[in-house]
């Protein structure tokens, strides 16, 4: 444990934990527009601004589109910049997500993951961030409030070293509004970890030679920029691993990257699941284990860059996989995690049968009988796509 890091145990909601991490980081600029269920991040942070405990320039913009636009402007100047959003707000930012990544700006965004309209629904699923998956943003997903806090701090270093924007996903309400006990590090420890701000790469305001950022690129150059972005995302894997190790060194807490395996020793089947339901499924998996069934759990923490290698390694000895996910691609091929996992496994020596289970859309609860159904699917490995907990549907 670092000498800088006396921890306190506090009861915090996910949104409180993110706001507290922001306070400790004390960013240069926060621009945000309120949307459920991420609103309290910015409410809490506004109070920190009003109380003068942070020196952040807070820009309370008139839309999420402008929130991310202001973040792009500020980050291009070399400022450390954060925002928070959910659902329709993230969808409204969609255009600017690509610009933030294309300009290689290290913006950190908390996404309290929520369903998309229509019908309108304010509750949790991963549809919002999954719609952003091809934008060039790195994506981290929290399992619990501790994760939401830790990953927010980690994201600052990852973003600034990879020169890419990072989203930290915390499941709407399940994490954003639930009170959990969190180990909180000292302010000094957090500030020592994140350092003073992005390095001298960003000279926009005071370069000795004026810089033009965001010009028109024609076919003779555009594709080279996009390839460079793809390579930066690929290289970010190494940076995430390195920064997670630095985090462990500094705070004395391990962060799982890129996937967290649970009970995978000699497992012949596995559930793959991101986000807050990992805890519930872990309970079930451990019960199944006790009952003599060789089933484990693999939780991806990182979705971008896609942890193909880590998933292949974690699932190497497995014959059946059930992917449980809270989003759909509406492509008839299942959810985005399942689609990408199948693609990642295609080159594996032994390919497990993958069954894609879509559950928990718009905050629908995962019930005991749903878990039993997952248990049966793990056993029977039917493949294909299933919708859990819908009964006969609407």
């Amino acid at each position: 444990m670092s000498v800088l890091a006396p921890t306190r145990r506090l009861g915090l909601t996910g949104n409180d934990a993110v706001a507290l991490a922001w306070k400790q980081i004390n960013p240069d600029v926060v621009a945000a527009y309120p949307i459920t269920p991420s609103t309290q991040v910015v409410e809490k942070f506004s109070q920190y601004v009003a109380d003068g405990v942070v020196q952040t320039q807070f820009v309370p913009v008139e839309s999420e589109h402008s929130a991310l636009s202001a973040c792009v402007g500020a980050a291009a100047c070399g400022a450390r910049v954060m925002t928070a959003t959910s659902s329709q707000g993230l969808a409204l930012m969609h255009e600017i997500l690509y610009i933030a990544a294309g300009l290689r700006l290290p913006i950190v965004m908390a996404v309290a993951n929520r369903a998309l309209s229509a019908p309108i629904n304010i509750h949790g699923d991963h549809s919002d961030a999954m719609g952003s998956r091809d934008s060039g943003w790195l994506q981290l997903y929290a399992k619990d409030v501790q994760d939401a806090y830790d990953l927010t701090i980690l994201a600052v270093r990852v973003a600034e070293r990879a020169r890419l924007p990072v989203m930290v996903g915390l499941d709407g309400f399940t994490l954003s509004h639930s009170l959990e006990v969190v180990d909180v590090y000292g302010d000094d420890a957090v500030r020592a970890f994140v350092g003073p701000g992005p390095d001298d790469h960003y000279h926009f305001l005071d370069s000795p030679e004026p810089i033009t950022i965001g010009p028109l690129a024609l076919p003779d150059s555009y594709m080279d920029f996009r390839r460079a972005l793809a390579e930066a995302v690929a290289r970010s894997a190494e940076i995430i691993a390195r920064e997670a190790a630095a985090f462990r060194e500094h705070f004395g807490r391990s962060l799982p990257v890129f996937v967290e395996p649970v009970a995978m020793e000699a497992a012949r089947a596995a559930v793959v699941l991101m986000g807050s339901y990992a805890g519930v499924v872990e309970e079930a998996v451990l019960r199944w284990r006790e009952a003599g069934r060789a089933v484990g759990l693999v939780r991806p923490v990182v979705f971008r860059p896609f942890p193909a290698e880590a998933l292949r390694a974690a699932l190497a000895g497995v014959e059946h996989v059930v992917v449980m996910e809270r989003a759909d691609t509406l492509s008839t091929l299942g959810g985005p995690l399942g689609v990408e996992l199948r693609a990642a496994l295609y080159g594996a020596v032994r390919r497990p049968v993958v069954t894609d289970v879509i559950f928990g859309l718009g905050g629908r609860e995962l019930r005991e009988e749903d878990l039993e159904q997952v248990g049966r699917l793990v056993e029977e490995a039917p493949g294909g796509v299933r919708y859990l907990g819908t009964g006969d549907g609407v």
């Binding site: 402008s66 636009s69 402007g73 305001l205």
Partner: protein
């Protein structure tokens, strides 16, 4: 520095030669005047549009100052972020001198898709100048109508046909909308009156808080005139009172900065442009446009008179 030609000509050339604007395009004059009149360093945030496209084709840039392009509708929001970052970095000792932020957009990116972000930034009171270079249409995408397009003008999405006479609606009055935000300084200008424009730019750049200038700048392919008549066409918009030159302080004090001595009928402006060609034979429509111009002028002069200003 005095704002006369002798002094302005001593300033280094602003926008570099070699930008790709059309012959007979007005906005390079605005940029040159902006860069010549700026009393302190400026950084420019540019909305998507003709200006961005013609001045920054990678790997070239015509800009001698820091320049940032984000998207079409968000120049004001982006400028808000730049201004906030400059404040933050200066407060933390990471920036010696805070430059003046200037956002620039065409009428499409300002009157229409960018109006929300402009209004938001104005309400929040960011210290920046927003310049709308207003060529009265979406010229970058091939001359479509915008809410700045005047009634009767022919565009590719408001064509003149057997039933419709070009654009049906009068133009939106963005200058008044911005004045209603009670910004410290709002002005309307034209590239034809460079001295007036220079004074307004200087005034806006030295006023703290949000300022806005709406500059009329003809578009050669969009308005259809011989390239060498650019300035004359812009001047006719002013002399016919189609485009009054005025300024508004704090949304309340109105001042006409140029009063045409012998105002010309609006027809004198219409007949020099191809986009109104179909209209000229239709006396009723020309009269309708003239009535709109007269009404607008009367409204402005009464506000200026109420502010204690000379109006004729």
């Amino acid at each position: 520095m005095a704002l006369n030609l002798r002094e302005l000509s001593k300033r280094a050339e602003g926008l570099a030669p070699g930008h790709r604007a059309c012959a007979g395009c007005g906005f390079p004059m605005i940029i040159r005047l902006l860069l010549a009149t700026a009393p302190e360093p400026v950084v420019v945030v540019n909305a998507t549009g003709c200006l961005e496209v013609v001045s920054t084709i990678y790997p070239y840039s015509a800009w001698p100052v820091p320049w940032l392009h984000n998207a079409f509708e968000n120049a004001a929001a982006t400028a808000s972020g730049v201004e906030a970052a400059a404040r933050a970095l200066q407060a933390r000792g990471r920036l010696a001198r805070r430059p003046k932020v200037v956002a620039i957009g065409g009428d499409g990116g300002t009157y229409d898709i960018g109006l929300q972000s402009l209004s938001g930034a104005a309400e929040r009171g960011h210290d920046f100048l927003y310049i709308c270079y207003n060529n009265e249409g979406y010229m970058n995408t091939g001359i479509q109508r915008s809410s700045a397009t005047p009634q009767g003008a022919r565009t590719t999405t408001s064509p003149a046909g057997a039933v419709l006479p070009g654009k049906v609606q009068p133009r939106k009055d963005l200058t008044e909308i911005m004045a209603a935000h009670r910004m410290p300084y709002v002005a309307q200008a034209s590239i034809s009156h460079w001295g007036d424009l220079a004074k307004k730019l200087r005034r806006a750049l030295t006023t703290s808080g949000p300022t806005f200038i709406n500059v009329l700048t003809p578009c050669q392919p969009g308005w259809d005139y011989p390239p060498d008549q650019l300035v004359e066409i812009a001047r006719l918009a002013v002399e016919t009172r189609y485009w009054p030159l005025y300024e508004v302080e704090d949304g309340a004090r109105y001042r006409l900065t140029y009063i045409p001595r012998e105002p010309l009928p609006v027809r004198a402006w219409l007949e020099r442009q191809g986009r109104f060609k179909h209209l000229l034979a239709d006396e009723a429509r020309v009269a309708e446009l003239q009535a709109w111009v007269d009404d607008n002028w009367a409204r402005l002069t009464s506000r200026a008179a109420a502010s204690g200003e000379r109006v004729s």
